[in-house]
Symmetry: C2
């Protein structure tokens, strides 16, 4: 027999039940459950015992209702973004040890950002962490007037006062990729971009300036792309027809790079000996042995730490260094890059 819950269904045990069973006041029971000081050792044990026996669980709602602080961080994320899942891992890892709970709200088909935000606000979150928000800056500013808001992985140049921004230095990442390729001896380096995706403009710019800095401004070739394998594949097909054919490609992200690799493979162009390929994100995909993609990694744990840190800092009234928190990316060299033949 497992320890009988003693309360079959319907009404769950309350603090008053615990107190009654232990023969103390609810206030004291509360003290014990919160592990606050003000209770004797013997009584403490007696209360805990009583709680265990009747299977008591504190009611988070009542608890938050009464306490002034809720210690609850609302995180809004997109269900279809593996990158967001990775960030969430990091956010949990930082927030819970810091004494903050996480309330999740997903953006899904038929459940827009606004809707997802509303439930977080209704849940009395103290601050909002928005992963890759798409809403107009004005809307974010409006939110920020009500509570601390952190935008992760979306650039907002001054357009949304009060919103904390945490992001990767996308331009710097593109620069690192170009530098790496140039160091290997490449000169004809193309970029299949991410269109209007967040970060795409910065990566495009980083690619352009890096090329110029190497005196390769005339070799700049940007192909319109997007964030899926499909976009990468289409870009690669366009590249194969081009003359002169570039010897290296920087894709917008790993998914796109996978599409590039696939197209090259089908066209019997060896990688990296025929064409070098660089991705962006260092996703699980890139690490797979049979893909083994050279890519620009985002420092996800650091992004998560900064996001949570800024939110908490704002809540606890600390002054925060002005401006965005920009995290440096790091090139991960694997098997898809080599010198040109």
């Amino acid at each position: 027999m497992q320890p009988t819950p003693a309360v079959p269904h319907g009404k769950r045990p309350t603090l008053a039940d615990v107190a009654a069973r232990a023969g103390v006041s609810t206030a004291l029971a509360s003290i014990v459950m919160r592990d606050a000081k003000g209770a004797g050792a013997a009584t403490r044990e007696r209360v805990l015992q009583a709680a265990r026996e009747i299977g008591y669980r504190p009611d988070a709602r009542a608890r938050l209702l009464r306490s002034h602080r809720s210690h609850l961080l609302g995180v809004r994320f997109g269900l279809q973004h593996p990158f967001h899942s990775d960030l969430l891992e990091g956010i949990y890892a930082v927030a819970e040890p810091a004494g903050y709970q996480i309330a999740l709200s997903a953006v899904a088909a038929g459940r827009g950002e606004q809707r997802a935000t509303d439930t977080l606000l209704a849940d009395r979150c103290e601050a909002l962490i928005l992963l890759g928000p798409q809403a107009p800056a004005a809307r974010l500013a409006e939110l920020a007037a009500q509570l601390p808001v952190v935008s992760v992985a979306r650039r907002l140049r001054g357009a949304a006062p009060g919103v904390e921004v945490v992001r990767t230095a996308d331009d710097e990442g593109a620069r690192q990729a170009v530098d790496h390729l140039v160091a290997l001896g490449h000169r004809d380096i193309a970029h299949i971009d991410g269109g209007r995706a967040p970060g795409a403009a910065d990566r495009r710019r980083g690619y352009r300036t890096a090329m110029s800095r190497h005196g390769l401004a005339d070799r700049v070739r940007v192909l319109p792309g997007g964030l899926t394998e499909e976009d990468g594949a289409a870009g690669a097909r366009a590249l194969l027809d081009a003359a002169p054919r570039p010897t290296a490609v920087l894709a917008f992200n790993d998914r796109s790079a996978t599409g590039v690799l696939d197209t090259l493979l089908r066209a019997r162009v060896p990688v990296p000996d025929g064409i070098s390929v660089v991705g962006f994100d260092d996703s699980h995909l890139a690490r797979l042995a049979h893909i083994d993609l050279t890519t620009v990694g985002q420092d996800i744990p650091r992004l998560a730490e900064l996001a949570v840190g800024r939110a908490i800092a704002r809540l606890e009234g600390e002054r925060i260094p002005d401006g965005e928190a920009v995290v440096a990316p790091r090139l991960v060299v694997r098997g898809t890059t080599a010198g040109p033949v």
Copy 2:
């Protein structure tokens, strides 16, 4: 100027504020906010106007604290499973129109199933929907003694009384794949399995019985695999060395199948003309034009609908048909299967 929230920070407006501004009792304001009957049209408008002006938002916690029902379904999911994300899409789509809110809790590194469950219980969820739970059946049964529990995509043969089970007929899916390949003329059909992954045993069994039913028991070949691209790639390498080389492969899932495709491509074995490949899941991956994988699709919307439906049925006291809810999969024929040469 945007509509000034009138409450800068700290204290958010309460129902009493709305009532005071509209010149009515809080009870009446509550009626209006809940859209319940018992308020005149003019007053209703006046209250709504007041609420709008001061930027009032109902406090979900206080609301749930008072009402006997919370109409809150707790959903536990794994951050690293795209399949769970897809299920969540479906769950939101069904639950919200039915008048139920969703509380999410993620299983992440350093945040086990137990911990994830605890927060849901503390939030006073009325029922739990667990996606791919790994906990021992006894633990699930223990939970089920406290509140309705639905396990999605994990088989529990009678070991956890009180737990509702919703899952795909994995054996049937494997059968459909084999039937399709046999109809195309294949006889040497291999299976790269999923090891200990949920569903793997059923798919293995389905493959075996289908082969037998076609009189191909002596052609059965099961290779040890897993759920990643890597596992599929390894299995494919083993197949290429085998004699006689099979003309078709059923992979455990799409990720595995992608690994198979990659290996075949590298080995210059044309697909489908050299070897046919079938996946499982019909993930986004499979649908990509340059992969175009024939695969067994799980009916995700249906799984979600059943999961939510069972949870709600249990809550509202309806009698539920005995046994598991098993959803039929459906073969999606794309470009990676054809007759043998």
